[in-house]
């Protein structure tokens, strides 16, 4: 089917005509292709609105593009991004390890109240916590890393404890029917049994971690990082520089999120769903 709208020729098949009708219905069901086209449509719409109808004070895309090039060439934007990404990933690895150790310790009644108390620290102020860690760390990098890990840890730990609490009693009974000691029951049912959920929770909380990092970096500016750069350009340069960094942070955040999803896909083959992605299929075949 061919449709001509002004200067644009749309080639639409029957499925897409059906999809178009579904687009505006409650609980409508559209194909993957139409969904992707819709995303593309919104991106183009957003860019056009930004270019043609920016309110006064908001820099247009051309200005932001110019600022971005300057940030890359003169302000070492990629270097700062690398430093932030590195800090974020190190903090996340530390957080997963500590969260899991603490969550598993919660299975021993003696430690349960301590671990539960630790999760309540998520109500503490981030800035207040950073002051305390500054007292106990040698460098501001360490303070940044510890503040970051501590803050994410309180959230992640709450999630992992909930996952462990939700393990059905029959899974413990099942482990015992395999003649396992209580230590083995914990290893197979609690540790290995919830490892995927813990890492997946971390990946889900990655956005919070990434957002938190820029805030923490703005508090410990001497060590650099993209958060520190953001505050510096806001104070000394125009708004277009802030926009350039924000868009970069968003894109890098999305890429890191996809990277984490890929790592999880490779590391936990038993959770894989059948995929049409030829690269993932090739990877799966390679893993056996």
């Amino acid at each position: 089917m061919y449709y001509l709208y002004g200067p644009v020729l749309f080639i639409i098949n029957e499925q897409q005509v059906k999809d178009l009708k579904q687009l505006f219905r409650w609980n409508g069901d559209v194909s993957r292709m139409t969904h992707s086209l819709l995303i593309g449509f919104y991106i183009v719409l957003f860019l056009a609105a930004w270019y043609f109808f920016s309110p006064p004070g908001i820099p247009g895309p051309d200005k932001v593009w110019g600022a971005w090039k300057e940030m890359v060439l003169q302000y070492n934007l990629f270097g700062e991004l690398f430093s932030s990404t590195q800090t974020c990933l190190v903090a996340m690895v530390l957080t997963v390890i500590f969260a899991m150790v603490l969550a598993y310790l919660s299975r021993i009644p003696f430690f349960t109240p301590l671990v539960i108390l630790f999760t309540k620290f998520r109500f503490l102020s981030l800035i207040g916590v950073s002051f305390i860690f500054l007292l106990f760390t040698a460098t501001s990098y360490q303070a940044k890393l510890v503040t970051m890990s501590f803050s994410i840890l309180t959230y992640l730990l709450t999630g992992v404890i909930a996952v462990i609490r939700d393990i059905p009693q029959r899974m413990y009974a099942y482990s015992r029917t395999l003649r396992m000691s209580e230590r083995e029951v914990t290893w197979y049912t609690v540790v290995r049994g919830t490892l995927y959920e813990a890492v997946d929770l971390m990946a889900q909380n990655f956005a919070i971690a990434w957002m938190m990092l820029t805030s923490i970096e703005s508090m410990f500016r001497e060590y650099g990082g993209v958060g520190a750069l953001l505050v510096n350009v806001y104070q000394r340069k125009g708004f277009e520089y802030v926009f350039a960094i924000q868009i970069t942070i968003l894109i890098v955040g999305l890429l890191l999120d996809s990277f984490l999803r890929g790592v999880i896909w490779i590391a936990f083959p038993w959770k894989r769903k059948p995929t049409a992605n030829p690269f993932l299929r090739w990877l799966a075949a390679g893993q056996g």
């Binding site: 029917t177 395999l178 003649r179 290995r192 038993w270 959770k271």
Partner: protein
């Protein structure tokens, strides 16, 4: 009627006076039953015991007591140890248990699940490999060796869960509600699987805990009917000897009029079993 003989060898001795979760509220009382070895000429024949009763009556508690996952305050459960050739008190792990959810560790491949079962069953190196090989062939799991449980069909999961428990236990397999939520075709397929497992070994004893009357009766050779006592606890109120009635080991049993009468009779009695004896 099939030619069979009940020997003196006691394979399961349940001798529970009382079990309670909270003090003063017994859940299971006065269950004193035995399962003996059955011999059939020309057939390797294990035993299939069915524990039948309405939902919520305490079947699962009795199931866990027999499995050694709970210990009664008074009395105990003993199972036959083929190596020592005598009855020994049951402990968790001696009895294979298969829940209706056919639990498996999701992160282990089919091969790893079987190897874990063999290792925990006390088999070492070559023996363990031979055992894994035997059960993988018998339950047609070879071609799925590299798959994870969530990549298996329902039937493959059932076979794997049963094979793993058989590798680990002393020829005693408890199955909790194996027919729950299945359509009639799948029920038939499970019945065939259970009958097949029962013929793996002379001393193999399968205990099915169920409220699904027809498929359970169709494969059982002994039935314990569970009901409530006057004090609200559960007990075995009657034993039905399916062998004596000529209703055991018959693939076409569901077409038998006597069998259908028995099904109807047990069905009618379920309300009484659930509510217990009426006060005088």
């Amino acid at each position: 009627m099939a030619d069979y003989r009940i020997t003196d060898t006691v394979l399961l001795d349940v001798n529970i006076d009382s079990f309670e979760y909270a003090e003063g509220r017994p859940v299971v009382t006065n269950v004193h039953q035995q399962i003996r070895n059955i011999e059939r000429s020309g057939v390797t024949q294990g035993q299939i015991l069915a524990i039948l009763g309405p939902s919520g009556i305490g079947k699962s508690t009795l199931f866990e007591l027999i499995a050694g996952l709970r210990i009664p305050e008074k009395g105990g459960v003993q199972t036959y140890d083929a190596k020592q050739q005598k009855l020994v008190p049951v402990e968790a792990g001696m009895v294979g248990m298969v829940y209706q959810t056919y639990d498996l560790f999701p992160f282990l491949t089919v091969r790893a699940q079987l190897e874990l079962g063999a290792r925990k069953g006390g088999w070492k190196d070559k023996e363990a490999a031979e055992k894994v090989e035997f059960y993988a062939s018998h339950f047609q799991l070879h071609e799925h060796f590299r798959k994870y449980p969530n990549q298996l069909s329902g039937g493959q999961r059932q076979r794997l869960a049963i094979a793993q428990q058989l590798l680990c236990s002393n020829s005693l397999l408890l199955m909790d509600e194996p027919f729950s939520g299945l359509d009639p075709l799948l029920k038939q397929s499970i019945c065939r699987l259970i009958a097949d497992v029962a013929q793996l070994d002379e001393l193999m004893t399968i205990i099915i805990v169920s409220h699904d009357i027809e498929p359970t009766l169709s494969i059982a050779d002994t039935v314990w009917l569970m009901g409530k006592t006057a004090n609200g606890s559960a007990t075995v109120v009657e034993t039905i000897d399916m062998m004596k009635m000529g209703l055991s080991w018959r693939p076409d049993i569901e077409d038998d009029a006597q069998f259908q009468l028995l099904v109807q009779d047990v069905c009618k009695r379920f309300v009484g079993l659930r509510d217990g004896p009426k006060p005088a």
